[in-house]
Amino acid sequence: MDLIWLIPIIPGVGALLNGLFGVRYFSRQTAAGVACITMAGALGLSVFAFWQLLGLDPASRVHDVVLATWIPKIPLQLADGRIGAFEVPWAFRLDPLSAMMILVVTGIGFLIHVYATAYMLDEPRGGYARFFCYLNLFCFFMLTLVLGSNFLVMFVGWEGVGLCSYLLIGYWYERKSAADAGKKAFITNRVGDWGFILGMFLVFVTFGTFDFRVVAERAAAMPVEMQFGTLSTICLLLFIGAAGKSAQIPLYVWLPDAMEGPTPVSALIHAATMVTAGVYMVGRNAVLFSQAPIVMEVVAIVGVLTALMAASIGLVQNDIKRVLAYSTVSQLGYMFTAMGVGAFAAGAFHLMTHAFFKALLFLGSGSVIHAMAGEQDMRRMGGLKKYLPVTFVTMLIGTLAIAGIPPLAGFFSKDEILLSAFLSNKAVWLIAVVTALMTAFYMYRLVSMTFFGEYRGPAWAGAHHVAMAAHTHSLDVREAAIHGAPHPADAGAHGQAHRVDHETTHGPADSAGHGHGHGHGHGEWHGPHESPRAMTLPLMVLAVGAMVAGFVGVPAALFGNNAISTFLQPSFSPPAAVAHAAPEAGAGRGAPAEAAAAHEAGGAEAHHISEAAEVGLMAFSVAIGVLGIFLAYRFYVQHPDISEQLARRFAAAHRWLLNKYYVDEFYDATVVDGTVKSAHGLWTVDRKVVDGVVNGAGALTVVTSWLSGLTDRTVVDGVVNGLGRTVEEASFTFRRVQTGLVQNYALLMLFGVFAFVTIYLFAR
């Protein structure tokens, strides 16, 4: 466990190697090897550390490793007037929560690295190494984030993953939409980081430290804030940061656009790990949040509304990755709902299971895209079941898992959240259930449109080579035809959607611009086909994970012991209370001991709800999931025309959803346009006022200097010249005295002598 500091460092070294030497010198195999081996090393160390942690007594499962001093002691005044020591060490902490997180990050990260070795093979050699450099760098920062034992170390990781997200979204930076999406992600995150930074400042002046445990200890000692106070402010600011990173309302807009990045990136960063950093951060500060019930309510409401909104958008999207992106936003909303109702362990549990099945779904969609030569529009897929058997089966497992069908992973975690929501707030529970219905629907819709039905994609050149030449041309024609006559699944809003959807990623233009556009380097496409082993193996491993990951959290009602909740509980309780809380944690549904006091009603009910009712709720949510799947099956497999009719009947609502509630347009019109307009205004002020002043001063100087020159020329020069001329004139008169005749001088001398002698003799 003393080696946990190596866990982030190893991928960091890999990133350094690939970044410094790989882009120039490494072959594809070497670059991929470096990346995968470092990730395997980190995974091995993580498993080892986890195993060691499990060996400890539950109450003392905390291990700190201080690597170095980062910021030495600086005295700073605190809010209450005391002088605190601002001191930040490079410290890592292994506790149940971070142990789970490093397992998720390194485990799924490793699988995705392996997957990417095959997926990115069409990239040029330098770009390939660059990709793995970024991917490793991301893992370095993500592991720093989850292992950091104080806010500032976490913040380093926090910003680092944001950077890597930006770099990887804009990996195909020649494409404007990708570069724009990267900027959008970065700037949106910056809004969140603003809240996070302010929250950190307030944490320091309030508690005098950045260490999570000390903060938790001191926060637990403060009274629960029923009125909005300092703790609530801190939590709200931190939540703004979490909402930015984890794509919650109103800062979720960047995540769907982030799908511009390569699919392994979407899987690793924008589904499994980075976007869960916000959830992790809230969980890390569970004690703090428990002291601020008002903010907890805000978190729950924002979470559940995000879940509903994103799921409803996901219902009608046609881009396979975009559906998954909205699904991710929706599931993150679920996690925040769990956090908000005090079920921190349930949220973290869902984070873990979600990482499995969402990574699986993304990688599966990547496999589909790979097979379809860069095509992402589901309307032009269909019937891929027979071409991609492995992908089909694994994605079906992922779909069932996310829909909450027992005994797959999603069932347990989602049910845990629904139960907590039911106990705390019925309205939240209702929205969450509706969301669950939508989730099942859109996920099965995705599977139906992709794998079932008729093949609707472009034809491929089989034996006849004559058709090859006309291949791209025929694609264009097909595209035009589709635009002209909207596909059933699309109804009337199609043309408009294409215009509005500026970052639309489908169509031939995409496969042309797409760096990874298929072709296997031969420029030919032989129809959809199963992906290579390096891609299907991670899919299978993740599918197994999506099936069994839930079993660590089987609730007591189903004769389990909810091991993960018990395991994680110490991380969500104040340090001092861990010892008492541990024994009863199994019974308390994720609500920490202190929080139980805050949520008296919820906590009490948690103990009082009968196991029969619990099982009933579970059956209900399973029924909801099945209903969603059934509806999707009916609409998209049995009677594909129903969906068309529905879309036509509710054309306005459909258009509303297809355009994502016009939120992007709204932000464009308000925030972006406002910024541009005010910048224009400031520019005008600069041009008119500032430049005017500067130019005016310049002109004034020119005029005065001209005047001064005039004075110099006339007055000063006049005086000097006049003096000279006067002297010259006068000299004409006086120089006549100098006759040059010696005798004149002698005569004058004589007169002078006579004069003086006369004066001497007579005037004395």
Partner: protein
């Protein structure tokens, strides 16, 4: 009996003749000779007072003046010779290069 007054009158006459010569003549040689007259007028004065007061200092002075006059005559004649070589004349009015 010759009184000092007589000597003085002689001396003054001689001096005035010398001054007149210096102021009126154009020939440098003559001016030079007139200066000698002035010096000798002084010498007569010195001798007269020496005789009057029975004091030999006056005579000593006179001897000095004669010696200095001789030296001065040598230098002056040298200058005149140099001037003549340049100007081919000894007219004092031609000696006017210092005027404006």
């Amino acid at each position: 009996m010759v009184s000092p007054t007589h000597y003085m009158l002689l001396s003054a006459t001689l001096f005035m003749i010398g001054v007149f010569g210096v102021l009126t003549r154009r020939n440098i040689i003559i001016i030079f000779m007139s200066i000698e007259l002035i010096l000798n007028a002084v010498n007569i004065n010195l001798m007269a007072f020496s005789l009057q007061w029975q004091n030999s200092i006056g005579q000593v002075f006179t001897l000095f003046v004669i010696a200095v006059a001789a030296a001065e005559a040598a230098v002056g004649l040298g200058i005149i010779l140099a001037f003549y070589r340049n100007k081919e004349t000894i007219n004092i009015d031609e000696m006017n290069v210092m005027r404006w």
